[in-house]
C-alpha cells in the first residue's frame, strides 16, 4: 500500500517544569498528542512513534515559565496519501450511490458513483448490495471486502479521503491479487465481454476457467481465447 512512510525526526520537546521529574513521560505525552492528526511539517498523519532521548542534558528556556527543551530523536510512521496513490481499505458500507471504506482502521474514505468505473454494476445479491464486475463474474465488491482504490483527494482536517475506482488496477484486493499483474492490468480483461459471459452463464460453462482454480495464467488465456474462437 502506498502512502505509508517512516521519517526520522530531530525534535525539541518543551517540558513544563512541573514535569521535570518525569521527563520521558512528558515527552511521550507530547508526542501522543500528534497521533492521528495531520502535521504540515511532517507532511502526513502520525500513526506511531519511537522515541530516543540521546542526552540527559537539556536546555532550560529563559522566560516566565522555565520550560525545559528536551532534544529527542524520533522515528515516525506517517500516513500521507497523495492524489493518484493506490491505497487499500475495508468496505464498511455500500450503497447504490457510493462505497464507504475505512483505511488503516481510522481514516474514512468514500467512493462516489461517478468515480466507480462502468464495469461495476450495483446489484442486490442475497439481500445485500454489491458492486459486481460485468467483465469478471468473481470480481465483486461488497461490505467487508478489502479494496484497492485510487486517492482523489485527502482532507487533512478530518482525514477523509475521496477515492476512485476508475483505474483498471483497482477493485477487490483478493481478486486483484489472483488475477492482476504487477502493474495492475488484467491479463485477459480485453478478451472478455459481457456477451460472452452471459452466453457462458447460460450454458453453465463459466465456472472454472477464470476463477481461482486456474493454476496459471497461461491456461486461462488459452481457455478464454478458445471460447471466443468457438463462438
Amino acid at each position: 500500500m502506498e502512502g505509508l512512510k517512516v521519517a526520522e525526526a530531530d525534535l525539541v520537546v518543551y517540558v513544563h517544569p512541573s514535569k521535570s521529574n518525569q521527563v520521558r513521560r512528558a515527552v511521550l505525552r507530547q508526542l501522543s498528542s500528534l497521533l492521528f492528526t495531520h502535521d504540515e511539517i511532517f507532511d502526513g498523519v502520525v500513526l506511531a512513534y519511537e522515541v530516543n532521548i540521546p542526552s540527559k542534558r537539556a536546555k532550560v528556556i529563559s522566560g516566565l515559565i522555565p520550560y525545559i527543551g528536551v532534544k529527542i530523536k524520533a522515528n515516525l510512521l506517517l500516513f500521507s496519501p497523495k492524489p493518484s496513490m493506490l491505497i487499500g481499505g475495508k468496505v464498511v458500507k455500500l450503497g447504490k450511490e457510493s462505497i464507504h471504506v475505512v483505511v488503516l482502521g481510522f481514516s474514512s474514505a468514500a467512493i462516489m458513483l461517478e468515480d466507480i468505473r462502468e464495469e461495476f454494476k450495483y446489484k442486490i445479491k442475497h439481500g445485500e448490495g454489491v458492486f459486481a464486475s460485468s467483465s469478471h463474474k468473481r470480481h465483486v465488491i461488497k461490505a467487508g471486502s478489502m479494496i484497492r482504490f485510487q486517492v482523489k483527494s485527502f482532507d487533512e482536517e478530518i482525514l477523509h479521503i475521496s477515492g476512485s475506482l476508475l483505474p483498471s488496477n483497482t477493485g477487490c484486493i483478493q481478486w486483484l491479487s489472483k488475477h492482476g499483474t504487477e502493474d495492475g492490468s488484467y491479463a485477459d480483461s480485453s478478451l472478455k465481454t459481457s456477451d460472452i459471459q452471459r452466453e457462458m452463464q447460460e450454458e453453465g460453462t463459466l465456472n472454472t476457467t477464470t476463477g481461482d482454480k486456474s493454476p496459471n495464467k497461461t491456461q486461462k488465456h488459452k481457455s478464454k481465447k478458445r471460447t471466443r474462437g468457438d463462438r
Binding site: 512541573s18 521529574n21 492521528f36 464498511v92 458500507k93 450503497g95 447504490k96 450511490e97 457510493s98 464507504h100 475505512v102 482502521g105 481510522f106 481514516s107 474514512s108 468514500a110 462516489m112 458513483l113 446489484k123 442486490i124 439481500g127 445485500e128 448490495g129 483527494s153 482532507d155 482536517e157 478530518i158 482525514l159 477523509h160 479521503i161 475521496s162
Partner: protein
Amino acid sequence: MYNQLILLRVSKSSHRVIYLIRLKGVCTQSSAPGTLITLLPSRLLVVAAASSSAPRRVRFACGIHDHRRGAERYAPARSLPEQELRYPTMGVELQGYDFPVGVVEDGYLSDSEAFASVINVINGVRMAPSLVPQSNKEQYDYLVTVVNPGKRIGQDDEALMATALKALSRAVFRLDAVYHGSLLNNIFMSSIWDYGLDARNALLELITTLATVPDKFLDNCLYTLLHNLRPPSRLKAPFNQSKRWLMRKEEVRREVYLALNCINTLVPLAPARLKILIEKCMPRFTEDKYVLMTYVEGILGLERNEIGKFLGSTVLARVVDLLIDLDVNIPWEDILQEEPNKGIFAIELGECNEDDEYTTIPNMDTLGLVKNTFADKLDGLMVVACEHLKSCSESGHLLEVFERLSEIFQRAMLKLHKSKFTQFLMFYACSLDPDTCGLKFAIMLTDIFISKDEDPDSRMKAIAYLASYLARAKFIPSSLVASILKRLVDWCFEYCQLQDSWVNKISPQADRVFYSGCQAVMYILCFRLRSICDVPQLKQLLFHLPVDSILHHPVLDPLKVCLPLIVQEFLRQAQTARLFKKPMAHSYDNSLESEFSKAFGGIQRLDMFFPFDPYLLKESDRFMRPNFEFWDMVKTTYSDYDSSEGEDSEGEDELKDLGPSNFPKDNDDEDDLDLKIDKMSITPNPSFLHQIATNFDQSSQMPARIRPSQSPPSPRHGFLYTKKEERLDDQKI
C-alpha cells in the same frame, strides 16, 4: 386481513400514488390500511412502509384510488398476479426485481423515479440563484418545506417527508452547502421527537449518510444527533412524565445511539469531533431541570454504548462540571436564613436511635433547600448520575467508569473547595465496589497527601476527603482503615523526626499539612476506634503506632492546633480505650475552633472541611444513605458502658476493668435542653452554651457538629450565629 399491496393513483393533477401494504400475516395498522403514501407535485411517488420489525416479504396487488371521491374507496384497477417482493430497506425497494411498479402499468411511478425526481430538483438549483428557473425554484422550495415543516403534520405529510428524506439519502453527494443551504439547514434543525418511526428512520438514515460526505457535514450531523438528546422545547411538565413521552424518549435515544454508532463505523475519527461537540452542546446549569436531566441521561447513555469507549472521560467530565456548577450555586447563607434555629446540619439529632434510624434524618425539605432551584436540579442530576453508575456496575463496566471518575475527581472536585454534594458520586461509586473502587479511592487520596509533588492545599484537601471518607463509609472494612492510619501516622512521625529542634514555636501555617494529617487521624479514630479495637490484630497494630509521640511532640503539639472538638472527642475515646501509655495532659476546650486551627486551615478553612458529611438532597439520598455512617450510629469506646454492657466481647471485657464509674455517661436527661441542642449538629456551637464543658463528663458530640464544606465565615454568618446564640440563651433562661 389483507395480504396485498395496492398501488393507487389519486389524480393526474397531483399524481399522488399510494401503496397500501398489507404485510403477510401481519397488519401494522388496524384502522387505516397499511401505511402510506406521498408525494411531490412533479410526479413523485411514494411509498409506504412497514416498520423495521415487519416481515421482509409482502404480497401485493394493484389498485387505483381516486382521491377526489374519497380516500376510503379502493378500487382495484388491475389485479396483478400475486408476487413476492423483497424490500431490504425502509420504504419499498423495488429495484433489482422483475416487478418494478413503474413498468407494470404506464403512469405509475417506481421508487427509482420518485428518487430521480428529487435528485432533479436538487440539480435544478445547482447554479447561481439568479440563473435558477422559477419552476425549479418552486420545486426546491416545496422540497425544503416538505423536509422540515416546522409544525405538527399529519400521517400523509409525514410519509411524504419520509420519502423525500429517503430520496435525499441517495443524493447526498449532490448536496452543496452553497446551493442547498436552506434545505440542509432544515434537515439539521429537524427534531426527530416529532415524527413517527418511518420519518425518524428516514431522517436518521439521511443524517448518517450526510456524515460520510467528505469534509462537509460531519459536525452538523453530530450536532443534530446530540441536539436530539434534548427533549422538545414545547414539552413542559407534567406532560414530560407521561408514559407516552417516556416511551418516546427511550425510542428516540435508542435511535440516536444507533445512528452515532453507525457514523462511528463509517467515520472512525468521528468520536474526536463528537467530543468537541459534547463540550460545546452541554446545557448551562440555568436551564430547565427536565432538559438538564434528559440531556444528561442521554449523553451518559452514550457512554454505555459502543461509541462510549472512544469518548474517554469527556462525557463524565462534562456532567461533573455541570454538577459542580449547580453545587457551587447553592449558598449556605440561604439555608441559614430559612431555618436559623435548626442550623445547617441538623442531621445527626440526638433522638435518632438505631431502631428508627431513617426517620429523623432531615433532608432537603427540612433544611430549606427545597426552595432552591439549583439544589432541586442537582438532586435530579445526582439521581441520573447514580443510576448511570449503578447500570455500569450491573453491566460490569464500573471499574472503567471509576478510573475516569477518579481522574475527574483529581482534576475538578479536589481543586474545588465549596463542593457540597458532587463528591458523593465518588462515594457512591466506591460503595458499588468496595473491594476495588473503595480501596483505590482511599489509596489515591493517601498517595496525594503523602506525595511531595502536590501543592499543600491539594494535600490538605485530599486528607480531608480521606478522613471524611474513612469515617463515613460503612463499606470500608476496619482493616483498610487501620492500614491507611498506619501510613498516615508513619508519615506524621517522620515529619516530627525531621522537625528542627531549635524551633520552639508553633507555626500552624508553616506546618499546616502536618496538622491536617494529625487532625485526620484523630477524626478517623473518633469514628473507627471502637471497630478497630474490636479486632485484636488491628488493635495491636494501632496500639503499636507512635500516635502519642506525635501528639505529644514538644514543638508541634498538634493537640493545641487541631480543632478542639475533634481533639476532645478523640482524647475521650482514646483514653477509654487506653490508646496512650501515659495519661494525656491537655486543657480541654469545647469550642469549635481555635486561633491555631484557623491559622492552619488558612483562608479556605481547610481545618473545617469534611466533604462527606451527611447528604442533604432528597431524591438522591436513597443512594447514599444505606452506606453512610451517621454519627449517632457510631459505636464509641465509651458507649460500651452506657448501652451495651450486657454484650460479651473481648474488647468489652478488657475495657470493663476500668469500671463504669471512671467514664463519663451520656447525659440522657430529656429535659436538659442544652445537651439536646448540643447533640444536634449545629454549626458552630459556641462553647459558652456549655459552661461545664471542660472535662469528660461533658457529652461531646464533636464530629457531628463540624460544619462541612464551609466557606470562610462572613460577617453575615456572624450575625446569624449571634442571633441563634441569643435565642438559645433565652431558652436557657
